[in-house]
Amino acid sequence: MLLAVAIPILAKTVFPVNISPQTMMVFNAIEDLPDGSRILLSYDFDPASQGELLPMAQAFTRHCSIKGHKQYYMALWPLGSPMVDLSIDTIESEYPNLVYGEDYVKFDYKTGGEAVIRMITQDLRGMYELDSKGVSLDNIPMTKNIKNIQDMDLIINVSAGDPGTKQWVQFAATPFGITTVSGCTGVQAPQMYPYIPDQLAGVLGAIKAAAEYEAAIDEVYPSIASNPKAQEAKRRMGPQLVAHGLMVCLIILGNIIFFVSRKRGLA
């Protein structure tokens, strides 16, 4: 397994990606909003899951930045705040024309999980009086007129567990009808499908969907295709292919041995 993953990484093999309709639903949810729409991005994951989710989170950030959407970042996991910082770094280095406070803002981590979601659907300032730089929300242009997150045009949630997409669906998307898309780990993704399309506008499941999403952005905005950092998930599909193949072979091989030995045992 180690070699199956290591060799393609060193060989830097990249395979073509076919974009699935599910990924296009997520892409369109962001693409079809008029430029400058308000988007809440909640990054509810930690470094342990960043292998699966960080490329996706960065792709969301790049897509929103290209579109000039107003991005409101927050995190419901204690280790999610540094994940948001990585996205802010991306904005600062790749989209220097965007201004903090006018185009993007970051809120600190708050305890309470789903209770935080419930609270900010009613009263944003009840949780976040200040942004993460310690400036009052009333003095920040993009938050001045926001009472609660019902004012958002879209919620993007990148989630590795609880609190995560399920909680956003339960406490924001369903009761208030706020359009929500999710990017989540492979473990969670199948459990999100029943929410589509009414409660969730689309879901990206782990690294495969992230690669498709990157490809979808590349297609519409070719300028990004030359940025190696924006191709991370696609690059990871190389090791993924070999490892998946290995897994299937192992399962088949194991079962052949199982059946052969069972037959012998019976005979």
Binding site: G51, S81, E114, Y195
Partner: protein, 321 residues
């Protein structure tokens, strides 16, 4: 039994030995050819001068009265040429280089668990527990305790000491004494005999959770799910009946209903009901199969990311991310 396990242990050791030797050779080779495992930084000056209104603004020409400090930015691999080093604008950052090596070594410590439980793994694990618990507590105190509780009880102090941007004009809000007391009561659980005192806040916790969960689940997972499941089995397009969407709608409905019937416990699974439940379990198995595939994909992605760290950031075999 013992012999075979010993043999497999020996072959294991052999394999690991070979891997480590290959790894060491690669490391030496890589160190001799590039700046493996080194982090270079450039300094950046920050200086702020006080205006007439008491507000500070950044300045490029700091004077002695200004507040100034220096931060360091990492030089990416691609920009780290011999010229940059010779010009002296970039310096080797010892703290970051040591950190990088420690990170790599800790990664290998954890990886050593593949050979079996060993002191290196246990050491790394003990560190994980300590640092993450400490980190979470720090974050909780700075992000929540200070602004949301202390900031309400002692706004003046918090404003001058930690959060100058805060609005302290409302003064002390006495209502927030209640959550403060609840927190103190909660900490009584650490006492050997005062455990019952912590039941008050725990009861508050449980009551609130029960209240909002009940609504959330009924609304999103019950009512909205039933609504989403109501689809016509007979799907018509522009030219009348279309087969595949209808087929899918039928399968979807059968899957939902039969799986729900499998979870009926008030009736014996016999006859038609038993058969339906059997179909239900098949659909559940397909569901689990899909979940299995997705989970495996996720686990492999995690490993790929860690190996990229080892090969890229540390060993510089591939461009670091």
């Amino acid at each position: 039994m013992d012999k075979s396990s010993e043999a497999s242990k020996n072959s294991n050791t052999l394999i690991w030995g070979i891997i480590f030797i290959i790894g060491a050779i690669m490391l030496v080779w890589s160190m001799s050819t590039s700046r493996t495992g080194q982090v270079w930084v450039t300094p950046e000056q920050h200086a702020f001068t006080a205006g007439a209104d008491g507000k500070y603004s950044a300045t490029d020409t700091p004077s002695s009265e200004d507040i100034a400090w220096v931060t360091y930015n990492v030089v990416p691999d691609s920009e780290l040429t011999q010229e940059v080093i010779d010009s002296g604008s970039a310096t080797l950052s010892w703290s970051r280089t040591i950190g990088l090596w420690l990170a790599a070594i800790f990664t290998l410590f954890i990886l050593s668990f593949l050979v079996g439980d060993n002191p290196a793994y246990k050491f790394a694990e003990a560190m994980v527990v300590g640092t993450s618990a400490g980190y979470v507590m720090v974050i909780g105190i700075w992000d929540v305790f200070v602004p949301l509780l202390l900031g309400k009880l002692a706004p003046g102090f918090v404003q001058t000491a930690f959060l100058p941007g805060m609005d302290a004009s409302a003064g002390t809000q006495l209502l927030y004494i209640i959550p403060a007391i609840l927190i103190i009561m909660l900490l009584f659980q650490l006492m050997p005999s005062g455990g019952w005192i912590s039941r008050w806040p725990i009861a508050f916790f449980i009551g609130i959770t029960a209240g909002y969960r009940m609504i959330g689940y009924v609304e999103a997972d019950l009512v909205a799910q039933i609504k989403a499941a109501i689809v016509p089995l007979w799907v018509t397009g522009e030219n009348g009946f279309v087969f595949w969407p209808s087929f899918n709608a039928v399968i979807l409905t059968v899957a939902t209903l039969s799986a729900m019937i499998y979870f009926f416990f008030s009736v014996e699974h016999k006859g038609l009901l038993g058969k339906t439940a059997r179909v239900g379990i098949w659909f559940l198995m397909i569901t689990f199969g899909a979940s299995f595939g997705y989970t495996v994909m996720g686990r492999i992605a995690l490993l790929a990311a860690r190996l990229e760290f080892l090969f890229g950031d540390w060993l510089h075999f591939i461009p670091s991310s």
